[in-house]
């Protein structure tokens, strides 16, 4: 499948980096361990958005919606004792050591259902209109979380008291949960990599580059975009489930517009259409939020400056994020075509 030597080397480097991460993390302090875990969780969200933004050329400003429904679903099925059948099913699955599978399946099915429905409404629109529709649909989810307090506890949010164990291994402390997250992350990365390298993924790139031509060649553009949208939504859901398990708490501000916008910035900052780029973006944005705020009172200014620089580099010089910057140094001749919209 992988013929290209440079490609092979790239895979090797990425895997090496994650092996190194897995080896180093246990020696970090507790706070750093949870920061690394958090970066991986949001890395999945950013990668899933990259499927849309980088590979398909669809800028969604509502990607937190599927993240949100999955994280809320997780929290609800784990805590709502008066919803007897879901809670009993969860308890039963948990007693068999399968609680995590139950949560993931449930969360992902709900994320898939919402992505399928919202995608159906949104995919026909292009450019700014697509942006607006996805934004408003995500606000619907936020509104549900905020107002439907019988189920979501409104702005108080839902506290989850503890994580289910995996085959009897407790994930309560940082290290086991970090390795669990890393495993899920690598599975997602692998699946998404295979997805973008598949003929289907190549078609998406074709659609991004020149939609009319692909239409002329007989591809069903709508269906391709729609399926990409759903798949991205499901991976976003994976990230949502992990987020609830990680933070053991969800509340409406977790899933508001800012989360969607941050995911977009992670992709733009790391480099769109690179998959690992958005993970670097996630690492930078999350660490900045956690670290700069310790030292600088007006930390949002610094974050804002980074956003502006990223966008300007992309717009003015065609440098697409950090990985794009690497590319510029390595082969200055090849300048990637900037997709419009």
């Amino acid at each position: 499948m992988v013929e290209n030597l440079a490609e092979k080397r790239r895979i090797f480097i990425v895997l090496g980096a994650f092996v190194a991460l897995g080896a180093v993390t246990p020696f970090l302090d507790l706070f750093m361990q949870s920061l690394v875990t958090e970066i991986l969780v949001f890395g999945i969200l950013a990668m899933s958005l990259d499927l849309l933004l980088g590979f398909t050329g669809l800028a969604s400003l509502g990607h937190a919606a599927y993240f949100g429904v999955a994280s809320y679903t997780t929290a609800i099925i784990m805590t709502k004792e008066d919803w007897t059948w879901t809670f009993a099913a969860f308890q039963w699955a948990d007693s068999l050591g399968l609680g995590l599978f139950y949560i993931f399946i449930f969360g992902l099915v709900v994320a898939l259902a919402f992505a399928a429905f919202f995608g159906f409404l949104a995919i026909r629109a292009v450019g700014v209109y697509f942006l607006m529709i996805t934004l408003s649909l995500a606000m619907v989810i936020w509104g549900l979380a905020y107002r439907w307090s019988a189920v979501t506890e409104g702005d108080n949010g839902i506290n989850v008291l503890g994580r289910p164990s995996l085959f009897g291994i407790s994930l309560e402390s940082e290290i086991p949960f970090f390795y669990f997250t890393l495993a899920v992350f690598l599975i997602c990365l692998g699946l998404m990599y295979m997805f973008v390298k598949s003929p289907f993924g190549k078609t998406l790139v074709g659609i991004r580059e020149r939609e009319e031509r692909m239409q002329m060649l007989g591809y069903n553009i709508w269906l391709h975009k729609y399926l990409a949208f759903i798949i991205a939504g499901v991976f976003s859901g994976v990230s949502g489930v992990l987020w609830t398990l990680f933070n053991l708490f969800v509340s409406p501000p977790d899933i508001e517009l800012i989360t969607s916008a941050e995911a977009l910035f992670m992709v733009a900052l790391g480099g769109p259409a690179t998959l690992v780029g958005p993970v670097i973006g996630s690492a930078i944005i999350r660490s900045l939020q956690q670290f700069i705020s310790i030292y600088v009172e007006r930390w949002p200014l610094i974050l804002g400056a980074i956003y502006i620089i990223t966008i300007m580099l992309g717009r003015l010089y065609g440098v697409e994020g950090i990985l794009g910057l690497f590319g510029k140094f390595r082969k200055p001749a090849a300048s990637p075509e900037t997709p419009e919209g």
């Binding site: 480097i13 090496g16 980096a17 190194a20 991460l21 180093v24 020696f27 970090l28 302090d29 507790l30 706070f31 750093m32 949870s34 958090e38 409104g154 702005d155 108080n156 949010g157 506290n159 008291l161 933070n247 053991l248 708490f249 969800v250 509340s251 501000p253 977790d254 956690q290 705020s293 310790i294 009172e297 007006r298 930390w299 949002p300 690497f326």
Partner: protein, 417 residues
Amino acid sequence: MKRKFITIIAALGIAFSAGFGSAQAAEVRIGFIAPMTGIFAQIGKDMSNGFKMYLAHTKNKMGPLDVKFILEDSTGKPAVNVRKALKLIKRDKVHMFIGGLLASTGYALAPVSNRFKVPYISPVPAADDLTQRKLFKHFLRSGFTSSQNSHPLAEWAYDQGYRNVVTIGADYAFGYETVGGFHKAFEARGGKIVKKIWAKLGTKDFGPYLPQIPKDADAIFTLMVGPMSLAFPKQFRAAGFKMPMLGGVTSADEFILPSMGDEALGYVTASQYSAALTTDKNKAFVKEYQQRYGKMASYYSESCYTTGQWVDLTLKKIGYKPDNTDAFLEAFKTIRINAIRGPVYLDAYGNPVHNSYIRRVTRVKGDRLGLGVKPNSLWNLVIKTYPAVGQFWKWPAKEFLKDPVYSKKFPPCPHCK
């Protein structure tokens, strides 16, 4: 290969930089979480200033211990509060953390304190259930519950002869609990709540809500927060309503009073604190706060100052051994403070029992009491003091707790039209 090398170097760099901040002897590490950016930043500063002022008075010491005060910006969002608390616990190894603003942050932080067995002291988050039906062992409160001051205010309102009262409150938990407390106590005395209106949180235009207010009601009870507090009295009076205004603390607290005009005159609210208290302690506090920070002292700053005092006294009681968490939790509940707000101690559920002041917004000519506050300012002058008010008011705790927590549906409204 080069890039892999860089990755590893970077990872190691992070590892080493993380090694700082390890524990030292003879200090108490206190984490403080408050919004320093975002829409609640000004309140967050009032909170941290209150606590810092206490530390300034003790020269950053509590007995023999040096105080390591670590301030974290919560941006006002519950999830960020949780992450900052984790940072304080795991990285800074704090002995306790203090702060949070909204009731929702209280609900978010309390389980964190339990999970890591680190005491969390809430000076402001007023969620009723944290000291009622959802108790957490490591949760302590030095502030108040949302409904605590509403009960005596209802009593006062009934004594004024008000019988039919309409309520308008912000549509979220703090609103339900504050209005609910008034409702329950008022109807228990024999009054009637004739209409309950819930305004969207952050409402600036009350146009859609004003026509719903029955003109023949004796008074209106409001619970406004932030910009709503400024907008409501103006629009209410402009629409021609003459009825007296009563309110929860945030409807007219010292934090927004300087921004209000004559429309707020006569507003009666209840709180465990008023900057207008004429005790020597409070006069000194208001004066110094004014000099240090150029602002009127508020219940946010008072509560955080008192929390500092409370922690200090607790540590003294346990021989300045902050590592002894269980002893700290026990001792905290036995402290009695003659605080700026008045005498205060915790009940069996870990909630403060203190005076409840009924306060009326009044314009005072000149520089009142010579405290250096801007002349002709609005003050919350205390018109009645209910001493030693607890969260359950006059009901026995057991009986009170049989009811669900105050919400949109509870208490039910039999007289609503």
